[in-house]
């Protein structure tokens, strides 16, 4: 009898069952369910159902992040409806400027290792970095979750990706993720659950851990998972301890529920296994218009860049800002460099530790934490013909608002180096060497 995968274990728990297998169909109760600027649209579907109140309101979370601060009256109206609905239903809601859903929910430790989180956002795979099962759902499904507190799910097969070796200096989780995308193509995850493991993970900073689970959305995966190590458990523990101390906190509340990290059995059954040796990998770059259109950075050096963007749920954490600062320190940028921290916490820490000052001195523009131009809404959308390089995850045609603005994806060192040079360039050429 083979052992169980992480998803088999965690979905069994969420369904109140003892054992489940890939292929089984279950009704699960997620531990957390969240929506963002699409909350008002979901409410309209919810009303069609005929339900009055959100079932299990303590599990629901709303963020305002996709178009913040509101760029138009219409967006402002949308936000106003969401605030009013949050208040009426007693739902925890994060304000404009607090940050992007995936980052904020992680920082607040609202979802815990071994748990299930469903969000009306495709990058909900992100929460795999905490050892949680995160899956994106449609708006109708979120409305159903509000109405009943549960949703049906088919237990996915698991695709295991093993990362081997220590990445060379200047090669980050982003490069490794892009390389995986190139090797296996978008859709390589084929709506399976992805388990990421291997010695390489120890070489990633805690800020880098979410990058690959996050981009498993581009890989077509249903969810992603990294076995939580000591660092992750310590992160969660510290965040919860902080929340307990908050003035208005009630230690008996749902927020401080017990949890148990879950790990796959060593003899679990995997649908596919893939190993990637990263020890000689070079910095990677995704060319327009698909995240798997990936080449070694050196192959496209010299292409002009008009705008460089450090931000998004994929690449807007403190270590991304610090990487950019390390590259631009003491220099002056040639192309626009936009810094949009993933959360207010990232912004605050970057302010305190001098990172922001370095970036501003080099000529960077700093914006309100949130998604920024990632959906083509506002705050840094390019003109037609202008090339953008960013630390984000999606370079589909038109993603930044206009179809004829080429978008490149890469790691934060490369993004910042391109801002300094005004063209695609290896950061080693700007700072001499990537060795710390």
């Amino acid at each position: 009898m083979t052992g169980y995968t992480f998803v088999e274990k965690t979905l069994a728990r969420a369904a109140g069952r003892v054992n489940v297998r890939a292929g089984d169909i279950l009704d699960i109760q997620p531990d957390v369910m969240f929506s963002h600027d699409n909350t008002a649209a979901i409410r309209r579907i919810f009303e069609k159902i005929g339900a009055q109140n959100i079932s299990r309101p303590e599990r629901a979370v709303f963020t305002l992040d996709h178009a913040v601060p509101a760029p138009t009256t219409e967006h402002a109206q949308n936000h106003a409806e969401i605030r009013q609905w949050a208040k009426a239903q007693g739902i925890r809601q994060f304000e404009v400027g607090r940050g992007i859903c995936h980052q904020v929910i992680s920082e607040e430790a609202l979802v815990l290792p071994g748990e299930v989180i469903l969000g009306s956002d495709s990058h909900t795979t992100h929460f795999g970095w905490l050892g949680a099962f995160g899956m994106g759902v449609g708006r109708t499904e979120m409305a159903a979750l509000w109405a009943t507190g549960q949703l049906w799910i088919r237990v996915p097969e698991t695709f295991r990706i093993t990362l081997i070796g220590k990445p060379p200096a200047g090669v980050t989780a982003k490069d490794i993720t892009l390389r995986l995308m190139k090797d296996k193509s978008v859709g390589g995850g084929a709506y399976r659950a992805i388990e990421i493991c291997g010695e390489t993970l120890q070489h990633w900073s805690i800020d880098e851990l979410p990058v690959m689970p996050n981009m498993m959305a581009e890989f077509g995966a249903m969810s992603a998972y990294i076995a939580p190590d000591e660092r992750v458990l310590e992160y969660v523990h510290a965040r919860r301890a902080r929340a307990v101390q908050a003035a208005d906190s009630d230690p008996a509340s749902y927020r401080f529920r017990p949890y148990e990290p879950l790990y796959p059995d060593t003899d679990a059954d995997y649908d596919e296994d893939y190993a990637l040796d990263v020890s000689t990998l070079q910095p990677q770059i995704a060319l327009p218009h698909q995240p798997d259109n990936v080449v070694n950075l050196s192959e496209v050096a010299g292409q002009p860049i008009q705008q460089a963007l450090i931000g998004t749920c994929t690449g807007g954490r403190l270590s991304d800002l610090e990487a950019a600062a390390a590259v631009v320190k003491g220099k002056h940028i040639r192309s626009r460099l936009l810094i949009i921290p993933a959360s207010s916490e990232v912004l605050l820490e970057a302010t305190r530790n001098g990172t922001l000052a370095t970036l501003i001195e080099a000529g960077a523009a700093i914006s309100t934490p949130g998604c920024g131009p990632c959906m083509g809404n506002h705050m840094g959308v390019p003109a037609s013909g202008e090339a953008t390089i960013m630390s984000g995850s999606r370079n589909f045609k038109g993603r930044l608002g206009t179809t004829d603005a080429p978008t490149y994806l890469s790691n934060p060192y490369v993004v910042a180096a391109c801002a300094v040079a005004g063209k695609i360039i290896d950061p080693a050429e700007i700072i001499g060497t990537m060795e710390a």
Partner: protein, 165 residues
């Protein structure tokens, strides 16, 4: 009960962009308009020639890509109530159930068929008969069957909530 259905046969990895182009997702609203664009970038003959009761028979990973619900509803509005594939993308499978279109996972069938061929479908007995061969498929799980029988997720919940009042 066995019914005869005409088949539209396609290959592996058909994505939702070719099933229903993204550029129409916010502009087209009526079922007729949405149906008129079904499979536009995969098979331009489909939308004009499809008849109510036709089925789709495809290879692996049908419906990969975006989660847009029109990937299913465009076919449903065009008269397709059943899609048979070697496998479905997870999100597409969910959307089928939620929109009341029957997804059947069946291996080995699509390579034996051509567009225009007919198959016999016996849903109650989970059997497809094609060219004298019988293919069986798994029933939906009871909870999913319940959603499907109600016509989809929204109608099911509407009924539940109306009954509770």
């Amino acid at each position: 009960m066995t019914n005869t259905h005409r088949c539209w046969v396609y290959g592996d990895n058909v994505n939702t962009d070719v099933i229903f182009p993204g550029k129409y997702t916010y502009t087209l609203k009526t079922p007729e308009e949405i149906a008129s664009k079904a499979l536009e970038d995969l098979d331009p003959t489909f939308a004009t020639q499809v008849k109510a009761g036709d089925v789709i028979v495809a290879g692996r990973n049908w419906g990969m890509g975006s989660s847009r619900e029109q990937g299913v509803t465009s076919l449903k509005y065009a008269g397709v109530n059943c899609i048979i594939a070697e496998s479905f993308s997870g999100l597409y499978f969910r959307n089928c159930i939620n929109q009341g279109v029957l997804p059947i996972v069946c291996t080995g069938l699509h390579l034996t068929l051509h567009t225009g061929d007919s198959i016999e479908l016996d849903i109650a007995n989970h059997t497809i008969i094609s060219g004298g061969n019988h293919y069986s498929f798994s029933p939906l799980s009871p909870s999913v069957q319940k959603i499907f029988d109600a016509g989809g997720l929204l109608p099911m919940l509407q009924k539940q909530f109306a009954a509770a009042k």
